[in-house]
Amino acid sequence: MRLTDEERAMLAGEAGPARQWAIEHQMRVGRYLGAEDFVAVSQAHIMADTESLGVAGVEWLERLAALPDVARRVRIPTITDPRGTDFAAAARLKQQEWMLALERRAIAAFEALGVLMTDTCINYQTIMPAVLGEHMAYGDTGVVIYANSVLGARSNFEGGPSALAAGLTGRTPRYGYHLPEKRRATLKLRVDCTPRALHEWGALGGVIGRIAGDYWQVPALVGIDRVPTSDELKHFGAALASYGSIALFHMADVTPEAQHAIIPTLAVTATITAADLVAFQAAYRAELDRIDVVVFSSPQLSLIELRDVADLLDGRRATIPLLVVTSPQVKPDADRLGITARIEAAGGLVLSGMCFYQSYAREMAEANGWQTLVTPSAKLVNILGGYGYRPALLSMQECIEVACAGRIGV
């Protein structure tokens, strides 16, 4: 890789061991993926829940955090994805003290590194949305795909170590979606059934993710007959990224690069119909009757989604655990506007700064006896099978019905 004088100095250790590790790590990644040089990035976003980090990862962070202040602090705004708990609700979730202790150690290490503990996967709705053409080092696949596709930012999937490396060096290897030529659509799909509800947008993302197949594909959608909302694109993108490992999509007449990125000669390879979305949803619903827990999460809910949950719960009472997860930026507004109180008066629990699947989902299942789960999040449905759950994808309204009845289909 071609290096600038500043990059060579970091590689030589002249900016301290943290930046030396960071640029060495980035060069190894860059060489594997064909990067010729680095590109400056203006923000980094780190996914680092302690279930993923483990003790080894936290100890690794603590070694960096023990360096002198000038050698360890990030150079660009660096923020965090959800943590593995909401400390205020950990006991109700039956999370164990060792999990909380590990979270506290990780938080202390990140703070020593100068990282802003935003604890959110919807930073594009709450913190500082990216600008068209802005290069980022974002973690959380849902953040990357939204920023790339809806906002026109340039980012690859940056796992926690690489996002932290970008925070320390202020740059990232220039490969993948930092390169204009990689942002062109590689397959075109016609959508005959513009979704109406959020879970249907998730289902559409899941269907297309399965078709697209891998990170290097850039699906383009034609036929969407209205401009979706931010929440709709959030659920679509999160599911597309989850099922397909996709980091960028284009949507004709909606996303900013679609006009130039969808080459006219690119032929439609498949048509998505309403039957595809129904079949996708039905595959998860088979044989589920009694439900143990209802979860609104993944991505964290916007203020509008929280308001909708509260409206659906008015005059109702949840009879099984109902978890509603949002960001630390949205939660104060929900509190101030009485939304949190309305949800919790109906038996729900509003959680902040965590994400269900990033919060020791397997251990929570064992501690609470949870096996069956319903959610309007296709992403969550995709992930939780591996954690031992039997999940189903339902609409927001159906989820509330299940929360009140304790079972599907009553």
Binding site: V29, Y32, G159, D214, Y215
Partner: protein, 138 residues
Amino acid sequence: MTMFRAAAAMGRRVQGRALVAKDGFSARYDLDRVRGVFSRPEHRLAGQSYLGRILVLDAAKGGVATAWMLHEMTARGVMPMALVLNRVNPIMVQGATLANFTMLSGFDVDITAVVPHGAVVEVDPEADPPCLRVLALP
């Protein structure tokens, strides 16, 4: 002995028995990392132990957690011996880099179709070009 050249590689040369499937790989989505088994019910290797095995799979899938999880698995010694994929994503590369993990990717053929499940294979990222060798059939 059959040999398959890879486009990209990292890590050190290892030998072991191959677990092969035309399926994806994500440490968070697919694995019970405590027990060391594939846990996603829909995965073609569901229920099988990956400890000490060389995983030969189609494509990197899922989210960004694998970037930490390979490191965490390696620290506990509850990990596969190597990862061989038709197609990687950046997360697999970043995770393998942090964990000093052995990985090969990018073949002229579908590697999951040509390496028999259960074969003894050698993954050689240090060769020029890097390659996978089938040493013994199951």
